[in-house]
Symmetry: C2
Subunit: 241 residues, 2 copies
Amino acid sequence: VITAVALAGLPEVRPGDDLAALIAAAAPDGFAPGDVLCVAHKVVSKAEGRVVELASVTPGPRALELAERWGKDARKLQVVLDEAAEVLRADGGRLICRTRHGFVCANAGVDASNAGDDRLVLLPLDPDASARALRARLGVAVVITDSFGRPWRIGQAEIAIGCAGLAPLDDWRGRADSHGRELHATLVAIADQAASAADLVRGKDSAEPAVIVRGLAPFVLGEDGPGAAALVRERGQDLFT
Amino acid sequence: VITAVALAGLPEVRPGDDLAALIAAAAPDGFAPGDVLCVAHKVVSKAEGRVVELASVTPGPRALELAERWGKDARKLQVVLDEAAEVLRADGGRLICRTRHGFVCANAGVDASNAGDDRLVLLPLDPDASARALRARLGVAVVITDSFGRPWRIGQAEIAIGCAGLAPLDDWRGRADSHGRELHATLVAIADQAASAADLVRGKDSAEPAVIVRGLAPFVLGEDGPGAAALVRERGQDLFT
């Protein structure tokens, strides 16, 4: 049995806030062995100060050109360009980027902070390190998540961008014959699926960024493990594109 | 709270078997309002006779050429080519295909039936219709799932290839301002995330193809709804590729 339970909402998180303490306060019963804490990245980014004031941004020529073409705010586009290691596609008002972490997503993971706000929230610099830091403080496996669009499919699904204390992958390659049964998959993205399960229970307005997923004890590690970096396919190794 | 519980394993499913009856027998307590039954497609495909005996396949020139190049069984490649509406990439022993349903996946969704078996299992011809048929018989929302690889990421995640009685998408576009809170996503792939949640609890050797996901009542419909077809992005409309 797998269970996902949202923690009570956190207060608005600000740069410098002690996120681990805020989460601990929202989980008065603490965590059980085998629990996995899934945290929407935005509160992590905010606590880590990964926030940009639009007023502080001076757009360069490419941002100005795209802004002109798309009728968008050039400063926002500049922030996206700054976060992108590579722009894979610039079309229809959207920049599909590869981030420095190797994630491929819309707008390099840059989000609006609040409706009508003048701040943008970036991805954590090193989400696996963010997960390790939360795990060290809270004593629970941690997945840091974000909503990504997917090629060929409509709608976003939550995936793991950071991970500590949870095996990100369950590798069944070569184990089929030992059971004599068919495998329905051979390399299962456990951390991504945990992120998606957590998202189903989360308030859609991000008032509940922290969710406990129970029942994944077989994948919980006694150490930080390889992190969500293990879920990133190396450039040039992609089967699909 | 979201809960995923695997039903007891089904017996080996054969073409012509009454899958709804097998599932009902594995769920002696029946289903509650708001339950979502997630079923790995392979048992659906088998019950529907979507099974090919390799001995019956005569490979054509393209399958023979790829088989020669990759050292693979030309008959298996022929079955994949037959299932593909379009081959997007043929590389490294794998065919990335668009199926007639519009799904983009490895080998057009064709699976080995069992280790060492001489049969291949295809995707259902119309997985939404398969889901509707199960819903009509069992009186519960149904998602039919498969494990798909993803561009740029390692590992497979379970997604919805068929759906009835569950809203496949939760659309929050335009609703941000009414709450005054930031949205973490605007168009959430509920059915795909339910498929992933179900997969976390499923035996990895496909002995437990049927999983009940509880807690999704807000997305359960009084009718079949648009199905997983609503999750397929139209060709030429893709933001990523």
